[in-house]
């Protein structure tokens, strides 16, 4: 009976891939966890529009029939791609590199972090039986995470020691070359009172590759973590991303997502407050065109009192692009004095673009202030007129307004160098001088 659900050719191909890959994946102790995930996939199949959380992002429809795991890549090829892929350049940061889902110590440079941050590759932790899956309650059963567990290859585990304040961002760069599927899970723990900035970058070539990546943030009491996430995948890529974050007491979490690339992108963030007096700020800027599909899904779990969360997402769609925002603020009964504010704004630049917006509030505590807002529309005629009256051509005026629209989200990033780099990145994407 459990096998009846997997029935489309792409589901069957994926099921076969999952089965075939098991033996070669690292970690004997983890095998049963993977097997459970494979079984779960078999009984559920791929998420599709009939699954509420995937209503607007039908993975079943876009999953290709021919699937394989990503292979190895020559050093030559890597440096060639690194030079051309669109990413943030000229940033002063420490870098960790994953190529086709495998951590590459040879390409990474962490010398400057000695004594402050410890690094363990996930494959090593798996082999040693030291990698334990401890899924957040709200993330349990997530279909993308199930697939992540079923095929987990590698990733990095970073521990920022208590009290350490890192001066430079640490970049975790994931590069895909030559097609195929890569599955990674990273983990970043920020110790008590520590402070860190993580930059996640996802890039790749023009092949039809797939990335299923997850990252877990553990922010200890009094710690502060800023994350900027740049999704600049290749034009034919399928990206499934899952972020989970657990916030301790009096901690601060800032999370920014910039999404421009890929053919089909789904980003999910699960945030949970476990200690009082903490803040989470989640921002996003998405700009897509062609027939790209980009989905930002968000679940903020207020489980304890006196925490604030603020979400602000901006999406711009051109051509036949489809954007999705699904956000939920979940306030449990004990979480009195919660302040939750969520805003999703979308700009449609073309007649054929579409936007699906679902900002939700689920509230079980009474002494709270929660609000959400959502807008959707086209560029303001008056603003365009203002610019054109000053001799700026229509095309450039439009681009300037789009940049300004997205910059309002980008500017929340607490690192000025990263803000400049991100704004430059958007301008490049738009073909605007800066």
């Amino acid at each position: 009976m459990t096998l009846t659900v997997v029935k489309t050719p792409s589901e069957e191909a994926l099921a076969a891939l999952l089965d075939g890959a098991q033996a070669a994946l690292p970690g004997k102790d983890f095998a049963s966890v993977r097997a459970d995930a494979v079984e779960k996939f078999r009984s559920e199949g791929l998420p599709n529009r009939r699954v509420e959380e995937w209503k607007y992002s039908d993975l079943k429809r876009v999953m290709p029939k021919d699937l394989s795991l990503a292979g190895e890549v020559s050093a030559d090829n890597i440096s060639k791609q690194m030079a051309v892929v669109p990413r943030l350049r000229g940033l002063d940061c420490d870098r960790l590199v994953l190529v086709n889902g495998v951590f590459r110590a040879d390409l990474s440079d962490l010398d400057a972090l000695q004594g402050k941050v410890s690094l363990t590759p996930v494959s090593k932790a798996l082999e040693e039986g030291a990698f334990v899956l401890d899924e957040l309650e709200i993330a349990k059963g997530d279909r993308a995470l199930t697939l992540n567990t079923a095929l987990l290859q590698d990733g990095v585990i970073l521990d920022v020691a208590d009290g350490v304040e890192l001066e430079r961002p640490i970049e975790i760069l994931s590069l895909m070359i030559g097609g195929g599927l890569a599955t990674t899970r990273n983990r970043v723990s920020v110790g008590k009172g520590a402070k860190a900035f993580i930059l996640e970058t996802f890039v790749g070539d023009e092949q039809a590759y797939q990335v299923n990546e997850a990252i877990d943030f553990r922010i200890a009491d009094g710690a502060s973590l800023s994350v900027s996430r740049l999704l600049s995948e290749g034009v034919n890529a399928l990206h499934l991303g899952s972020t989970t974050a657990i916030l301790g007491e009096k901690s601060h979490f800032e999370h920014f997502t910039m999404s421009t690339g890929g053919q089909f992108t789904r980003n999910t963030a699960f945030i949970k407050f476990t200690g009082e007096f903490s803040d989470a700020e989640l921002f996003g800027a998405t700009i897509i065109g062609r027939n790209q599909h980009s989905d930002q899904t968000l679940l903020v779990d207020h489980a304890v009192p006196n925490c604030n969360s603020k979400e602000q997402y901006r999406t711009v769609m051109d051509d036949k692009a489809q954007g999705v925002f699904q956000g939920k603020i979940f306030v449990r009964q004990p979480a009195q004095k919660t302040d939750g504010q969520m805003m999703s704004q979308a700009l449609l630049l073309s007649e054929d673009a579409a936007f699906f917006n679902k900002p939700e509030l689920e509230i079980f505590a009474d002494d709270v202030q929660c609000a959400h807002g959502a807008t959707c529309g086209e560029l303001d005629e008056d603003l365009l007129f203002y610019l054109r009256a000053r001799g700026i051509p229509l095309d450039k005026a439009k681009k300037m307004l789009v940049l300004a629209f997205l910059a309002e989200a980008v500017e929340h990033v607490s690192n000025d160098a990263v803000v400049d780099a991100l704004e430059g990145f958007i301008a490049d994407w738009l073909g605007l001088d800066h």
Partner: protein
């Protein structure tokens, strides 16, 4: 300030028994055997003396229904309903072939009098004290269990060309209108409960406003469930022809019983060119006791179709009753420049569960819609707003504004907001805002410092919270609704 004073008085007067309409009328009834099968449908059809096409329509719906599954996506919990354990037809005896109100069983008339719905013509809907009465006429269609027992002002309406009668009568007398419009807004196969309703609906109101006519009085239907173990399946069809206007009111109550009862209605509105329909509901089915025992399951499909240009449909609802409410009055904005409105107050207390909202489907150019939803949860209740606003490709310059606010009274209740906003047209402008909060200490302090008692202060603040919606209700209903709100929230403070 008159309304506020009225509220304050009301709060003061409230006695322990909150639900005033929980009495049972002892009356002889005709019932179909329990359960649902083709024979029951034939029985209902025969009872109503329906033409063959109507029976066929019902049987088709029944066949379809058997293949359907109960929806589970709403945020409501209830034990499985045994559809074979219900009576699908119950009617007071001797209601057939009555020529005037004098022939109606006096027990029935007394019931409606007790409910504040006098069926004597020239009377008006109660709820307003003698000296404050506004002398407007309201025509009432009274539906008791499965049949319509009386319709008032029929003659006067006929003079204006307005047809207002039980739908069972319309099926026989205006078959061409019924055939043309029935199921054209809510298709037979729309959803589980709508399909069930299509198979077994027993009565309801039929309204046709001819071209260019402004209906001379408010029309109203009052639904009453009386019998035990019966389901009420009413069907309402309102057609406003070109350039016409009608304001329609709907009210409902049921006796206080320990077991749950099902009410699955379908309401279809059709507004043609330049026509306007204003549909107001004060839903006050028995909500169950404070422990959640008993109460009505209100699973209703309501939808309006602005079929031609410049049409307007406006839904206003005050939801205070029912153990479970599952209801999404919607507008299909097909005609150019058509307008849809949804004003709602949903109040849950005790163990009530509400999952309600609206759908605004923009299909035509320059269509606009407005949604104002105010949810108040108290006690251990759950109150969900679920709404859809969508603009299709051709709906250029569609416009929507949505505001849904929730107020929480007490720390054991839940308030949820689930909006879906889908835009497939760049020139469509959608705005949505939602807030959830409790009555703030500052507001309370302000009132208390001016010598206003705690309960009165809450009433005052709640009244302010729902004012935007109350203003949309016709006068008689507004007063009634305001009283109801306060009664519903009785006992939720302190």
């Amino acid at each position: 300030m008159a309304a506020v004073k009225e509220t304050v008085d009301q709060v003061r007067e409230i006695d322990v028994d909150q639900y005033k309409y929980g009495f049972v009328t002892d009356i002889e009834t005709d019932k179909a055997p329990k359960g649902l099968n083709e024979d029951i449908i034939r029985f209902i059809s025969a009872k109503k003396d329906e033409p063959q096409w109507m029976l066929d329509w019902r049987l088709d719906a029944y066949k379809r229904w058997q293949t359907m599954q109960e929806p589970t996506w709403a945020r409501v919990n209830y034990p499985e309903i045994d559809f074979q354990d219900l009576y699908y037809y119950a009617a007071p005896k001797n209601t057939e072939g009555l020529k005037s109100l004098d022939e109606v069983d006096p027990e029935l008339l007394r019931t409606y009098e007790k409910l504040g719905i006098p069926l004597q013509e020239q009377e008006i809907l109660a709820g307003v004290s003698e000296e404050n009465r506004v002398h407007t006429k309201v025509a009432v269609d009274a539906v008791f269990d499965s049949v319509s027992v009386a319709t008032t002002f029929k003659e006067e309406l006929k003079k204006a060309g307005v047809i207002f009668c039980p739908i069972s009568e319309a099926v026989k007398e205006y078959p061409e209108l019924v055939q043309k419009y029935l199921g054209s807004v809510v298709p037979v196969t729309d959803n589980f409960y709508a399909t069930l309703n299509s198979a077994v609906f027993t009565d309801g109101s039929f309204v046709y406003i001819p071209e260019g006519v402004r209906c001379p009085m408010e029309l109203s239907t009052y639904f009453r469930i009386n019998e035990q173990n019966t389901g009420q399946f009413e069907r309402t069809l309102i057609i406003a022809d070109k350039g016409s206007y009608v304001s329609y009111l709907e009210g409902c109550t049921a006796p206080q019983r320990d077991e749950n009862q099902l009410h699955a209605a379908v309401v279809e509105l059709v507004a043609l060119e330049d026509a306007e329909i204003k549909y107001s509901t004060v839903q006050n089915w028995y909500p169950g006791d404070s422990e959640g025992k008993g109460g009505i399951y209100n699973f209703v499909t309501k939808r309006g179709d602005c079929r031609e240009k410049n049409a307007k449909i406006s839904w206003t609802q005050v939801e205070t009753g029912s153990a479970i409410t599952w209801k999404y009055p919607s507008c299909i904005l097909r005609g150019e420049n058509s307008v849809g409105e949804f004003y709602s107050i949903a109040i849950s207390n005790g163990r009530q569960q509400i999952d309600s909202g609206t759908k605004m489907i923009h299909l035509g150019k320059n269509t606009s819609s407005r949604i104002i939803s105010k949810g108040i949860s108290a006690g251990r209740s759950e109150n969900t707003y679920r709404g859809l606003v969508s603009a299709h490709k051709k709906a250029s310059h569609a416009r929507n504004f949505t505001q849904c606010d929730s107020l929480l009274i007490g720390d054991q209740c839940g308030a949820h907001t689930v909006p879906y906003i889908e835009s497939k047209n760049a020139s469509a402008v959608f705005e949505h805002e939602a807030t959830t909060s409790k009555i703030s200490d500052d507001q309370m302090f302000y009132c208390r410092a001016r010598g206003i008692g705690e309960e009165e202060a809450v009433a005052l603040i709640v009244n302010g919270f729902v004012k935007d919606v109350i203003q949309q209700l016709p006068m008689e209903f507004a007063v009634e609704a305001q009283k109801l709100i306060n009664i519903s929230l009785e006992g939720s403070v302190g």
